[in-house]
Amino acid sequence: MSARLFQNAHIVVPGQSDPQALDLRVVDGVIQAVAPGIAPEPGDERIDCRGGILLPALCDAHVHIREPGQEDAETIESGTEAAAAGGFSRILAMPNTDPPIDTGGMVGFIQSMADRRARIPVSVAGCLTKGREGAKLAEIADMAEQGAVMVTDCNHALQDAYVLRRALEYTRHFDMVVGVYPDTPALSKGGVMHEGAESFRLGLPGIPAMAEEIGIERDLRVAAAVGGRIHIQNVSTAEGVDSIRRWKARGVQVTAETTPHHLLLNHTQLGNYNTHFKMMPPLRTEADQQALLEGLLDGTLDMIATGHAPHTDFAKNLDFNHAPFGIIGLETALPALHTHLIQTGKLTWAQLCRLFSDAPRRLLNLAPIALEPGQPFEAALFDPAAENTITRAALKSRSFNTPWLNRTLHGRVTALYLPRDQ
């Protein structure tokens, strides 16, 4: 028997919006007691949390691992090390690798590679269509049998509503989620940032908000007609949030995510053509930021996901038009949300855990984590007082493409506890 006693902790427990000053005792990976001032028993390993916050470990439903194909940007080891450092005990790996994960065999290969080499458990998503080409459905049943929990073509938005219709119909028998990236390529083609006064000033081709809005509207209309589980990735616009709100009210089975950077940054911040601010969908306006937060608070948007997209220095050092879209996010997500939303009183710890742990876990068919007696102990310890400067040296990811590079955020994950490690 091994027992550990966490003392001086502030614990995010069910039913309380703020962390409570409690102790927590774990025996063989299962929580045995959560109470104030638990008396240590002989043989207990005592852990002084120094007032830190103990919260259910996070789950990220949108991570690009890059292996196989772009191991210079990220590998299963480095990506999951970064996830663990960010407080995540589970991630969903996206299938836009090279070659793409579009067969049962590939899903099985990635899953077994992850089981052997990953720092934390990894769920795998497969492609919706073969080669992510948007034409022919990939072998969805094969992939489901190998454990895939979602099919998605990532940022290759489906041009063809017919393909989306058949995918939503076909997946219904396999309890598989269809992930869609909402876009209207004819409207966004060639764009590299949000279309508006800033894109005019900088002379960069714009991506209008309506490209996303029309995409969401179309995809949800199809889902309303044929059923299936649809998940909208990367929502970035106020109108997009509105659209989801309307279709949810009409009973469509839809979940939706947004990212920390779309919540916390906007298009005025890439003034000096910094490619670390180039992502798809692009950073939008302050009004969109506000609408995304409201959407999360009222349940229209179900979850936060980082969309962690590593790119090498070489790729991000290209000019703004040619540099790839995407930024890393696993290690900055919690400190950034803590600094800008929790410390400012816009979001509670309980809400954060609902959005960044419970909801994504449900999406991946996993039970939510509750820090209460009888439950497996799967938690992150967060020191809210730590000054956390995001430096290259400190990042576990192989890539450094984050807008927070060399900026200081408040708080740092100091430990991650997984049931299998105990």
Partner: protein, 320 residues
């Protein structure tokens, strides 16, 4: 002695004051006067190296900078950049590192993508002059236009200009808007609604009919070059219709002459599209003057910039 402070790069007018813009324009005048001497060269940049780094072909602008630099006695090198170097796995940064090692003092950069000169400027000690980037900015063009405007109207405060054509894709339009506004000129624009986005700066008056342009009565009508490929992207149905609705037709040219408006154009001109042929021989068409003034203005810009290569000591004013 009157003087202006040091600036390393000229990328756009974002961080420029009216005083600084006027200082550059004032400096261009004595440079233009040099052209009447038997020796047109001055030794100001003797021993300095100026590099033309053109990722987009442009014989006119490159030649103008080359003559400007040579008249300041600088050594000029044209660095031909293969557009395929990105494909070959060489980033702009690699190129800059190579050039930095060659001890270049000034880099003149033209690139098809907005922001590249700014990016290069951040990574080199050399002074960087933006010779046109994507749709973003073309500051020396706007300066030579303002210089040409000032030769006719020495005080630009309250004067009026209308920039006509494809604003959406024009770096010239953006820079001309910004500089003219900085100099107190009232700015208007005229062109197809597809090519004048609603996101243009608030100070620009948007005209939808040529009659409104006449009512505004600009001192200068500035015509932009229309890229012929815009037609295929459905920005307007045909060249014929563009000319009839937004170009300087024979009838409009008559009205322009009556009012004594001046015509500017950054060149090269599409005859029969932006303007009818007769405009080219009109005595108030300033297109050739703009080209001539380009050299003096670019000399003034080169004189005005200070590379970081050498640090400057404080006061050696007393050299008499």
């Amino acid at each position: 002695m009157k003087s202006v402070s040091h600036r390393k790069d000229l990328l756009s007018f974002d961080n420029m004051t009216r005083e600084e813009a006027l200082a550059i324009l004032d400096t261009a005048k004595p440079f233009k006067d040099l052209f009447t001497r038997s020796v047109k060269k001055v030794p100001t940049l003797r021993g300095k190296t100026v590099l033309n780094l053109f990722y987009e072909p442009s014989t006119r602008t490159r030649t103008s900078f080359e003559i400007a630099a040579k008249r300041l006695s600088a050594d000029v090198t044209n660095f031909a950049v293969s557009t395929s170097s990105v494909v070959k796995g060489e980033s702009i940064l690699d190129t800059i590192d190579t050039l930095q090692a060659m001890q270049v003092d000034y880099m003149i950069v033209r690139h098809g993508v907005s922001g590249v000169p700014e990016y290069i400027a951040r990574h080199t000690k050399a002074s960087v002059i933006n010779a046109g980037d994507g749709h973003h900015a073309h500051p020396t063009q706007a300066l030579l236009d303002a210089f040409t405007f000032r030769e006719i109207y020495p005080d630009l405060q309250g004067k009026r200009i209308v920039v006509a054509g494809d604003i959406l894709h024009s770096r010239v339009a953006r820079s001309v808007f910004q500089l003219m506004h900085l100099l107190g000129v009232e700015v208007g624009t005229f062109g197809p609604a597809t090519l004048i986005p609603p996101t243009i700066p608030d100070y620009v008056n948007v005209f939808t009919r040529f009659e409104e342009v006449l009512e505004f009565d600009p001192h200068v009508l500035y015509l932009l070059r229309l890229q012929l490929e815009r037609q295929t992207a459905n920005f307007f149905p045909s060249m014929r219709e563009y000319h009839r609705v937004y170009g300087v037709t024979d009838e409009r040219f008559r009205q322009i002459r009556e009012r004594g408006m001046h015509i500017m154009h950054p060149g090269p001109v599409n005859r029969g599209v932006e303007l009818v042929d007769d405009v080219m021989t009109y005595e108030r068409t300033l297109i050739n003057t703009q080209v001539e003034n380009g050299i003096a203005t670019r000399m003034a810009v080169l004189y005005h910039l200070t590379p970081e290569v050498k640090s400057r000591s404080h006061d050696t004013e007393e050299t008499a």
